[in-house]
Symmetry: C2
Subunit: 339 residues, 2 copies
C-alpha cells in the first residue's frame, strides 16, 4: 500500500513480465509492438497510474518538448495576446512553454536566457533584435532553434511586423488630412527596437513633407495609460500647441486622449490622437481610437508554427522571415486640424 515512489518503466516491466525496453516502446512507439503485448503493458501502466517522467526522457533523448520564451513583460495587452496564441499552438503539439520576462532590463534578459538554456529548452522565442553582444553569444553558443518576433536580425528566423511602416502609416494619414504640428509619445527607446522603429517611421513620413520633429516634440514614457497622460501633458505645453499627438502604443495614445479630454481639449476637434497596436478597447472608446492594427495573436501563431517546423527539422532552410501586414484603422479620434 505504501506507494511513496512514483511508478517507473521499471515497475511496469517487472509487473508485466516484459523488458524495460519493450515498455518504453509501448509508450513512445506503440506501433512497433504486437497488439497483445501492447495491451498488457498498457493495462499494467494504467493500474499503476504511470505518468512518464519527461525530464528523464529529455535527458536520454535530447529532446525536452519545451520551448523558452522571453518577453519584456507579461501584462501588456499586446504581448499577452501573442503569448496566449503561442501557448495554444504549442500545447496542441505537446510542447510546454517556459516563460520569462525581463521588464526591459538587459541584465534580466541575459539571466533569463541563461536560465532557460540551461533548463534544456528545445528552442527559444525572443522579442526584438537589440541585445548585447554577450547576449547573442549566449544564444549562438546554445545552438538552439531561435525565432525572433516583432523585430529581428536577418541571421535568424523571425516573425515580424513592420513597425516602421506602422509609424509611417499613422503619420502619413495625419499629414494627409492636414496636420503639421505633431507631438509623439513613445516608450523608452533605449533597448526597444519596436518603439524605435515606430518613431523612425513617423519621422520618415514627416520628412517627406518637410516636417521635422524636435526633441521637445517627443516624450519617452513607460508603456502605460498614466504615462500616456503624463506625456500628453508635457506635449500640450508646446507653443504653438500640436494639432496631433501620436502614441506609438495604444496605451499611450489612450492616456493622451484621456488627458486632453480631462483638460477640456476636444478630441478630435481640438486635438487629433492616434495610436499603434489596435488593442481591444480602442474600438470602443469615445471617440474610437484611430490606430494601426498589429496582428499580435498571429505573430504568436506563426512563430509557433515556424518553431515547430524547426524543432522537428521539417524545415531546414537557412533562415526564414515571415512578415505580417499592419493596417491603418481610421476611427474617430482624428480629424482635420481646425485652423
Amino acid at each position: 500500500m505504501p506507494r511513496h515512489r512514483k511508478p517507473t518503466l521499471n515497475d511496469i516491466a517487472r509487473d508485466s513480465g516484459h523488458s524495460i525496453a519493450t515498455v518504453s516502446r509501448a509508450m513512445s512507439q506503440p506501433e512497433l509492438l504486437q497488439p497483445k503485448t501492447l495491451e498488457r503493458i498498457r493495462e499494467v501502466a494504467a493500474r499503476l497510474g504511470y505518468v512518464p517522467n519527461r525530464r528523464a526522457r529529455a535527458l536520454a533523448s535530447g529532446q525536452s518538448e519545451t520551448i523558452g520564451v522571453v518577453v519584456p513583460t507579461l501584462n501588456s495587452p499586446i504581448f499577452s495576446s501573442t503569448l496566449q496564441e503561442m501557448q495554444r499552438c504549442f500545447a496542441a503539439n505537446g510542447f510546454q512553454l517556459l516563460i520569462a520576462s525581463h521588464e526591459y532590463d538587459p541584465a534580466n534578459e541575459m539571466a533569463a536566457l541563461a536560465q532557460l538554456i540551461s533548463h534544456g529548452v528545445d528552442g527559444m522565442v525572443i522579442v526584438g533584435a537589440r541585445r548585447s553582444r554577450s547576449c547573442w553569444a549566449l544564444l549562438e553558443a546554445a545552438k538552439l532553434p531561435l525565432v525572433q518576433i516583432w523585430e529581428g536580425l536577418p541571421a535568424h528566423d523571425r516573425v515580424t511586423v513592420d513597425n516602421q511602416q506602422a509609424g509611417y502609416l499613422v503619420a502619413r494619414y495625419l499629414l494627409d488630412i492636414g496636420h503639421r504640428r505633431f507631438g509623439v509619445i513613445c516608450g523608452h527607446l533605449q533597448n526597444n527596437d519596436r518603439q524605435s522603429a515606430r518613431v523612425e517611421g513617423i519621422r520618415a513620413a514627416l520628412a517627406q513633407d518637410g516636417v521635422t520633429l524636435a526633441r521637445t516634440q517627443i516624450s519617452e514614457q513607460a508603456l502605460t495609460i498614466s504615462s500616456g497622460r503624463a506625456g500628453c501633458m508635457t506635449l500640450l505645453e508646446m507653443l504653438p500647441r500640436p494639432t496631433a499627438v501620436i502614441g506609438t502604443a495604444d496605451l499611450l495614445a489612450i492616456g493622451a486622449m484621456f488627458e486632453a479630454q480631462g483638460r477640456g481639449i476636444g478630441v478630435p476637434d481640438a486635438l487629433s490622437v492616434a495610436g499603434i497596436d489596435n488593442v481591444d478597447v480602442a474600438a470602443h472608446l469615445s471617440p474610437s481610437l484611430t490606430t494601426v492594427d498589429i496582428p499580435a495573436a498571429n505573430i504568436g501563431a506563426e512563430a509557433a508554427a515556424l518553431m515547430l517546423r524547426r524543432v522537428r527539422q521539417e524545415d531546414t532552410t537557412p533562415s526564414t522571415s515571415i512578415s505580417l501586414p499592419v493596417t491603418l484603422v481610421v476611427r474617430h479620434s482624428t480629424a482635420r486640424p481646425m485652423e
Copy 2:
C-alpha cells in the same frame, strides 16, 4: 576546434585533472572545496564555456527548480498582472515558470496539468478550486506542493481574495445609494468559481434588502468588452429598465458603459455601472469606473512566496490560507437613481 557537443562536467573533470564529483561540488557546494581546487576548476569551466545541464541535475537530485502554472487565459489584464509578478518573484529565486492556459475548458486544463506534472515541476499553481474529481486525483497523485490562487479548497494552500465580498461590496453600495432594479453581466459560471462567488455576493447583498435577481436580470458572457456591450444590450431591454448594471469583471462593466453611452443613455445619470477588478483603464474612463479593487499582483507575489517556502520545506504547516483584502473604489460611473 569542432565543438558540437556542449561541455559537461566530465570534460571539465578531464581537463582539470579532478574527479567529476569534485567538479560537481565546485558547481553546487563550492564551500566544500579547497580554494585552489575551486579556482582551477572554475577556470577550466569558464574556458570551456560550461553551462550546467539542469535536466540532468533535476533527474539526479529530484529538484527541477521549475514551477507549473495553469491559468484560464494569459491575455486578461487580471491574470497577466498576477503572472507578471509571480514570474518576477520566482525568477529572483532561480525558479522558472512553465505556464499553460486552458481557456476555460476542463479537458484542456486536465491535459495541461498532466503535461506539467510529467515535466517534473517542483510545484503547481492553479486558479480556483472547481475542477473535476479526476483532475484533483491527478494533482493528489503527483504529491506536489500546490498553491491555489483566487479561490481554493481548504485542503490545500491558497492565496485568495474574497470574490463573494467583492460582489457584496459593489451591490451593497448601489443599494445604499438607492438602486433597486439591477442588471448583472457576468462570465460563464459553469467552471468559474471566481465569477460564481461574485454573483453570489451580489445576491447576498440584494437579499438583505429583499431585492431578488431573476434569471433574466443576469447575462452570462465571455470576459471581453464586446461581450459586456452585448450583455448590456440584453439587459436594457428589461422593462422597467434597470437603474444599475454590475459587471462582475471590469471588462464587462466597461463594455456595458460604452454600450449605454452609445445608445444615449447617460452614465451615471440614467444608468449606474460598476465593475470588479480595478483594471488600469478603469480610473481613466469618463466617467471613471466605480469598481472593487482586487490586488492581482499581490496574489502573484504571495503565491510565489508561499510556494517557495513549501518547495524549500521551510514551511511545513498542514495548509496555509492567505486572504487578501478587496476594497470598494467609488468613482463616477455610479450615482443615485433618478426617480
